[in-house]
């Protein structure tokens, strides 16, 4: 579903970036992407989402290149950034309607999905208010609903649990499992290693812009007690 093949991206005039990243995310995967601050998680995710151009390598979504067919690729996934800077001058419902228009979602389906996810995340009553009045958590919930409104097969999430209340975190985890059970896939970065350990079937660890470990969660967990201890060990020795 998502292939990252020898991805290299360096910021001009700086030595920051990522080098030779290779990952394969298949249908049914919940893939955690972990690493310390500044390791290159967001850079990789932004390249996959088509926000950043990259120096070399390939990013394929369902076999199509994000570089050559950006619109086709973007219509197949949804992306949520680490800091949901949404259009503060729109109301929540205007924003959702805008995203639904862009993805050409039929009116009946958008009503159904906004109703469902709005109620699950307990945000429906606030949808008529300007986004500028929302708290960080509410913006995050709105960004999640906007990502789900066109029923994508692939979700690319950067720190999706930051700012969410415990109930919303549980709902998001359930939705993630539901998407994977339906043949979709999730690729997300996180610092919450407990969540990654319990939720994901695959994991990749990045340090200083390079992958230092990747594979199924079972294989990785064989190397130590918990994902946290393995992460500390791998990062220290890499």
């Amino acid at each position: 579903m998502l292939t990252i093949d020898h991805l290299t991206k360096h910021y001009k005039g700086s030595n920051k970036g990522v080098t030779d990243i290779c990952l394969e995310i298949e249908a049914g995967d919940i893939y955690a992407f972990i690493g310390h601050n500044g390791a290159g998680k967001t850079t990789t995710i932004k390249c996959v989402a088509g926000i950043h151009d990259f120096d070399s390598g390939k990013i394929l979504i369902d076999g199509s290149s994000i570089r050559e067919s950006p619109l086709l690729c973007k219509s197949r996934f949804a992306y949520i950034p680490d800091n949901p800077d949404l259009y503060e001058y729109l109301t929540g419902i205007q924003y959702l309607n805008f995203i639904a228009d862009v993805f050409n979602v039929p009116a009946r389906i958008r009503e159904e999905l906004i109703g469902r996810y709005g109620n699950e995340f307990e945000i429906t009553s606030s949808l008529g208010d300007l986004i500028s009045t929302y708290s960080h958590g509410m913006k995050q919930k709105l960004a999640i609903i906007s990502a789900l409104i066109h029923q994508p097969k692939l979700l690319i999430l950067d720190e999706p649990f930051v700012g969410l209340d415990p109930k919303a975190s549980v709902i998001l985890k359930n939705i993630m499992r539901e998407i994977c059970d339906g043949g979709g896939a999730i690729f997300f970065s996180t610092h919450v290693l407990d969540v990654a350990e319990r939720l994901c079937n695959k994991v990749a660890i990045i340090k200083d812009g390079s992958l230092i470990a990747s594979g199924s969660m079972e294989e990785i967990l064989k190397q130590g007690e918990s994902l946290e201890s393995i992460f500390m060990e791998v990062v220290k020795n890499a």
Partner: protein
Amino acid sequence: MLKQIKLLTKLELCNIYNLNVLRFSKNSRRKKKDLSVMMLWLFLIVMLIFYVSNLSYGLLRLELGSLIPAYLITVASLLIFFFGIFKAGNTIFRKNGYDILCSLPINRTAIVVGRFLRLYVENLVIAFLIVMPGLFVYAWFLKPGAAFYILGALSILILPLVPITASILIGAVIMGISSRMKHKSLAAAGLSVLFVLLIMYGSSRLSIMEETITPEMLRELSSVIMGTLEKVYPPAVWLGRAVIAGSFMPCFICAGAFLAVFAAAAAIVSIFFHAISQSLCTTSARHNYELKTLKKSSVLSSLCKREFRRYFSSSIYVTNTIIGPILGCILSGALLFTGTDVITKSLPIPLDICTFAPFVFSGIFCMMTTTATSISMEGKNWWILKSLPLSPKSVLNAKILMNLLLMLPFYLISEVLLIPALKPETFFDGFFLCLIPAVIILFSCVYGIAVNLHFPVLNWENEITIVKQSISAILGGMGGVFLSAVCAVIIFLISQEYYALFKALICIFILGATALLHKRITAPDAWRRYEL
């Protein structure tokens, strides 16, 4: 408190003109881009210095050298005042960083004084660039005494104080009123436009009074101009006379009075600062939404609606771009009521107004297009458009369409008033009266986007830096005005019998150039090409 003022002023001035970012940025490409923008600014500054020097030299040749300080001080003061009306309120009461400052043990007067001093320093640069070249030309040719240099420097230092104070007080009133309203940005934009129109009306009344100038007065041109300047801004004349005469006392009195006005304004604003800032930061949320039937729209329509909502959410964006079209309508109306005779008589050379009016109105309409800053205005939200399945063509077309739809009612009103006012003699005169502004407006909107693609700024903290100070705002505004002027000069240079032919050729050329430019900027790889 002095220590707090010093610290806050240092913080305010730390990134003035984006210098701190330029200093510490490790991104060499961005540094190069910032440096090229600075070079453009430098070029504009050199042009300004050249213009002011020539103007001053011209006054000297006319033996009106004694007017130079008063004249330049008036011009600088008016510029500072007019630009300040749109900017001062937003600078003083900006929300950015308000919460952090309030949580620190800082006196609110120190916050206000820090922000006042930021405005002062920014405007001191304008004062320096306008007055200094003129004083230099005066000194070079007339070799005045040492007092001239001391008082000239003092007058530059104190001249921004009063116009800034006036613009801050108007800005505070606008912010104070709009903070009580539900649609704060729209209310602030409406009030700002109203203030500017009132001031323009007042100044036009002043010039009407000058109709009483007699031939005897013309012989004493110097005193006539001084008289006019005194009506517009008396302190400039007092200061100017004191500088020429080398009188210290009037200058010191002016300096004392200016400082007192500035300090009093800071004291008044600091009383209301907390209340106004809090009201501006307070947002009303009803939490009573119930899901209704949702309508599906086309991508272009949805993008265009979003552009309109973005536009009307920013008072500074609205006020900066709507003045031109409003002025166009007012001038058309004035022309209808006063008739063309008044203008024909006042022209130095005989001109057919109907022939040149389309270019004048095009220039007025295109003084500032929304497209010139619309990409930069996306700011931190740019990721949304980048991550959605939207082609550059759809995004940019929506921005162009929004600008055209915004101008459409003003254009129609203006044309409806212009046609009976100018009474075109032939069908072609009437046709080009409508077509030329439409074509130039279309070009300006596309050109605005092209300029913003070359000079995008997405990591801004305050909208003012984009709408009023960015290079794309300046170059974008110049495009339509420059094109209108060039077209008018071409028509002026050719024989009257070829007017219709050349106007048609101009329209075809501009439409062709617009189509080519549009094709180039909306190519599928636009974001990559412009590094967005």
